[in-house]
Symmetry: C2
């Protein structure tokens, strides 16, 4: 009985890793769809987000079922409760890639991102994907050093976010309000996606140590 | 032993109600601070958000402790797990009021919201507070009819959100990029706060019925 239970715990961990990998890929593709005005790619990401939602529902159902049937204690209980929280973060990260792809689709055949901001958005996409990939590794390896490092990567994201606003607020900004709205929302989507990834890594930290990593808002 | 446990469950429910009331009040005050450029009020909401964060941390610690010590089954287990999720939503709703107050503070002594949008933002604040108040009542009463009604209120919020964008995109918009960015972010904060409140009500629905209310993204 216990062995089957630990198989189930392992499979929950594996699903979290799969979700995180899928979100990383969606983030990469969403940024490409956005920068290259690739409608087909954007559509694909928008429909693939359902897959992530379904993964979360199934994972949570399985987790709740194990909580109910096995009445786990200590570390196993913490694993299951943390899994519920991580899956919620990962689902929300998937939503962010979906939102990014929707902006690409809305502005097609034009490129949503003007030339001046293409490299900033590209960098935000890279940093976001980098943070998600490290988060995947943290889920897989429980590498707490890496979990702490992620906070620094998130600072890089905040810097890019400020840079984006400075570009928008430059008197020479020639692209009008609509593009400024798109860029404001995009900035927020990339930043929130990174925030959720950092939150997942913090939950792994809690899982392993029973303590919260220092949180900075 | 069981009686003490059910006292604990009741106190968790009461804390969720207290959190929701506190968020409702913060939403009302944040909107006032924003529309009236009231710096003192904005500062108060910004510092009060810590109180909501602390309530969440303490509530979750208590919930995790009960999960670990009591190994609850069936309905009690569902109550505890749902409580963890509701507290996360409520904490995030508090963050949104904090973000709104920060925009009020950033633009002080000017009013962040220009005259053309004051009534739209005022309405968004009212709808948000109305949704939060109904959510509080749903947590308290487990009134599923009201939980379903909330979805309609959320549609009203979406309408106001679209109205806000239309005003920004009007060729006659005279307030420039900075104000457009502020309004874009404000629109998102109100909308997200309402979304989280609807999510709390959905969780109560799940708690009572064991089934998910139909979700619309």
């Amino acid at each position: 009985m216990r062995d089957a239970f630990h198989d189930d715990l392992n499979s929950i961990g594996q699903t979290l890793i799969d979700m995180s990998r899928r979100v990383s890929r969606a983030m990469e593709l969403a940024t490409t769809a956005l920068l290259e005005a690739d409608l087909q790619l954007a559509e694909q990401i928008i429909s693939d987000d359902d897959v992530i939602d379904v993964m979360q529902h199934e994972l949570d159902a399985k987790t709740l079922n194990l909580l109910a049937r096995q009445q786990p204690v200590a570390g196993d209980l913490r694993t299951l409760v943390t899994s519920l929280r991580m899956s919620a973060d990962l689902e929300r990260m998937g939503d962010m890639t979906h939102h990014i792809a929707k902006i690409a689709r809305m502005r097609y055949p034009a490129k949503a991102v003007p030339e001046e901001l293409a490299s900033t958005i590209e960098d935000m996409g890279k940093i976001a994907k980098g943070i998600i990939d490290k988060t995947t590794h943290v889920i897989e390896s429980h590498d707490l050093q890496l979990a702490v490092e992620l906070e620094k990567d998130d600072d890089e994201m905040d810097k890019l976010h400020r840079k984006l606003f400075l570009t928008l607020l430059d008197d020479a900004w020639p692209h009008g309000i609509e593009t400024a709205i798109d860029m404001t929302l995009l900035g927020r989507y990339y930043e929130r996606c990174a925030d959720h990834a950092v939150s997942v890594a913090r939950r792994v930290y809690f899982l392993v140590t029973g303590e919260f990593a220092s949180e900075r808002n």
